[in-house]
Assembly symmetry: C2
Homo-oligomer: 259 residues x 2
Amino acid sequence: MQDKIINSAKNPIIAEVIALQKKKSTRNEKGLFVVEGLRAVKEVCEDDVRYFIATNNICKADFTTNTQWIEVSDEVFKTISDTKTPQGILAVVQQKNFTLQNLTQAQNSFYLVLENIQDPGNLGTVIRTAYSFGVDAIFITKGSADIYSPKVVRSTMGALWNTKIISNLEISEIFDWLNQHNISTYATDLTNSNPIYDVDFTEKVALIIGNEANGISQETRDLATFKVKIPMVGGESLNASIATGICLYEIMKQRAKIL
Amino acid sequence: MQDKIINSAKNPIIAEVIALQKKKSTRNEKGLFVVEGLRAVKEVCEDDVRYFIATNNICKADFTTNTQWIEVSDEVFKTISDTKTPQGILAVVQQKNFTLQNLTQAQNSFYLVLENIQDPGNLGTVIRTAYSFGVDAIFITKGSADIYSPKVVRSTMGALWNTKIISNLEISEIFDWLNQHNISTYATDLTNSNPIYDVDFTEKVALIIGNEANGISQETRDLATFKVKIPMVGGESLNASIATGICLYEIMKQRAKIL
């Protein structure tokens, strides 16, 4: 495909990228999102890329064989970048469309449910950690941060396109699906709950993490099979992404030990 | 002590607070730092507060009995606040001066060593987590982020003034002190290391965490008694604060189980 050079920040493609960076509604409507930076762009599967935008100090041959390559000036790149020190390359990428209906169940599955996680940095870090510990899929409720927002994309460090994520779900449909598939649910909660190291996670598991400030919803509290907590010595709180990381580690460890 | 009202952003006290918010050198020189926000200010011990600055919608009686209280306008408060949506209260607080020399050793001690952690958000989260898991003291090397920078203070969520922290240390003096006190060192590293769940952490422990991008230094690699890692299934990386949280959890758990 022929390369294109854009010198004006008013070009419609530039306007599209700016809208994709800033607006969830545009990302949803077009089914696209932006991946920025040398390392991240290199890791995206080229088949999913609609077009690349780069400054002239980026070597095209490192990134694409035949996807549209658009060259822009440093000034134009600054207007479309979400970072303070742009590396001069981004890709506009198609969103994945996993659904509960087409999700094939893994053997002895390991799922993560995120209920109303608000902070994009936390959400991105949790996705990155889930990928590292071999979670089969992540379910995210309506009202959570958008997985395709620039800050989430950045903090997943590539885990976003290596993990099955289904977002925009009602908590009730998640429970319905998990129950249908005989998957026990373990919700993190501080009251009436057992220390995670005393709980057996070796069978099918869905771990449920609640909102940063308010924890899990009453509905989840009522519906979850088990309630679990991370015992603490001092203080009373852990950051939500730290708590999730610790629970995922404990689950992974118990399962690795029986392999 | 009599209250004071300041209406000008050019007042020397206002200039001092701005410098304390922005400059590590001013914080070091004066031995002071700034704590901002209703909840955080309430948690600071009043004996450590030099003065409070607040807008007139904050109730003085909730915070102080006889420490200097300075009232400023909303406009002046905005110039001294480090947050986007200021709550209208901050405290200028004395730094603690723990040293290796005056550190009393805890029974079966549990220490955390942070080598060259650069990101203030990571550093703050790690301090918060260490407090939750009962770490006796944290040692921080020269060149790390400043524990008194506004972002670190904020993300520790109060753990900063509940934890013994000694910063600005050479890694060699840390090892000297730990060796003198017969404390085994466990450095996180990916090569030639054992899974943390196969390591015995029930005796005196110093866990060493390295830089976000480069891990531990060669010096630490050579000097550490043991090298440990968190096994991962997919991907190849965890955020530094998540990795620290998981190691601290594993150590706490092993020690809680023998109590």
